[in-house]
Amino acid sequence: MLTILAALVVLVPLLMVQVGIFTNMPLLQGYPDLILLAVLAWALQPSVRRAWQWSVIGGILMMLASATPPGVYLVAYALSVGFVSLLRRLVWRIPFLTMWVATIAGSFLTHGLSFFVLQLSGRELPIGFAFWTIILPSVFYNLLMALPIYALVGEIARWTYPQEPLYEP
């Protein structure tokens, strides 16, 4: 319950900022995906055992705000969280670099899936233009925003789970 509350406290304002502000400040035609970054940052917190709730809430919020076919963000965020879980098993410590690795993977996954589904729905999206003008700038934008979001979500995780980290040896 506390996890869901924390998700709403973080993700709803981030969505408002994303929809109201960052969509007016594109890098070429790319926007940052603050919801994805928050979900990834939450999944990377040592004190967090399950992050799927955040991915579901984030996916639903994006579904409400975006005209992207329903389910794309749900699936993309779930896959991104799965990738982070894999990273956490492989990497003993979770440094900031892991956040960047997760950001790159999650961004390509989300945009790749969006692109694929939109193509299937009949839109004409030239892949070269989409990659160089939308996907790549969005990934860079996400990398720029990754650390501030990681720090913010880290604070929220410390408030949500004030006990000692569960993964400490």
Binding site: L15, A65, S66, P126
Partner: protein, 281 residues
């Protein structure tokens, strides 16, 4: 004797004094008085200047503190005034937009409009939608056209009670039936992922030129007729092709949308049941 002498001296003194006053009033003593007073005045000025230096030296620290406080107060006041100026400029810009929209509504009395503010954009960079602050509570329905005083913006795609999502004509899935003026040629306008507008299906023989006006045709029932879309900015025509195509420069600056008008008395016509399906007679 003494008394007489004293009276004589007094009279002589008064006469000399009166004489000097008379000479002074007549202006004969000006140069003399100047020569006499100048050293005194200079001395007085020097003394006073030394006094001022000494006073400043003694009272300077207090003055600096007061000046700093005053400076802070004034800086705060300047900040407040600058904030007020920005707010007023925003209000002025909004008033200008609203004024233009009111003019537009008056010029097109056949339509009823609902003004709405743009409160966001679609978070997906692949899509071109805006979110407005009017919804079904304000009689906004799916399919209603959205315009500004300049021209066509798009149409309502999804509605909630207090907000709606508008598909811009630049969205890659947007299709608008259009006509070209002055030739009257019919065509289909499609949005592009690049944000450009492409006019397709223009008959090969249609006389079109760069600068021709593009309007909604009203065919298909998706949009009301004669709403300005833009101007032709480039033509692609190959003799072997059946149709010509053209790029269109929209009259609306989609990156600067703040307030839009929804045409609330227009109901789109669903012609899908009339389109013959494959395998059906």
């Amino acid at each position: 004797m003494n008394a007489g002498l004293r009276n004589l001296q007094t009279i002589a003194f008064l006469l000399i004094a009166l004489g000097l006053i008379a000479l002074a009033l007549a202006g004969y003593l000006t140069s003399f008085s100047r020569a006499l007073l100048t050293p005194f005045i200079e001395l007085q000025a020097w003394v006073y200047s030394r006094y001022q230096v000494a006073r400043d030296l003694l009272s300077a620290p207090q003055d600096i503190v007061q000046l700093q406080q005053r400076n802070l107060q004034l800086e705060a006041q300047v900040s407040q005034l600058q904030a007020q100026i920005i707010e007023l400029q925003q209000q002025l810009a909004e008033a200008r937009i609203l004024s233009a929209l009111v003019d537009f509504a008056r010029a097109n009395p056949e339509n009823r409009y609902q003004a709405a503010a743009v409160i966001g954009r679609d978070p997906s960079p692949f899509l071109r939608y805006i979110i407005i602050n009017r919804g079904s509570d304000d009689n906004i329905r799916r399919g209603m056209p959205v315009v500004t005083q300049q021209g066509l913006v798009g149409r309502i795609d999804a509605v909630t009670a207090n907000a709606a999502r508008v598909q811009l004509i630049t969205d890659s899935a947007a299709v608008v039936n259009a006509k070209i003026q002055p030739s009257g040629a019919q065509a289909v306008l499609k949005g592009q992922i690049t944000g450009d507008l492409l006019l397709e299906m223009i008959p090969q023989g249609a006389p079109i030129e760069v600068g021709n006006l593009v309007l909604t045709s009203g065919l298909g029932g998706g949009y009301p007729p004669n709403i300005v879309i833009g101007q032709i900015s480039g033509i692609r025509s190959q003799p072997q092709d059946i149709f010509q195509s053209a790029t269109v420069q929209s009259v609306v600056d989609f990156s600067q949308l703040e307030i839009v008008l929804v045409i609330v008395n227009f109901r789109p016509v669903n012609i899908e049941p009339l389109i013959p399906q494959e395998g059906q007679p």
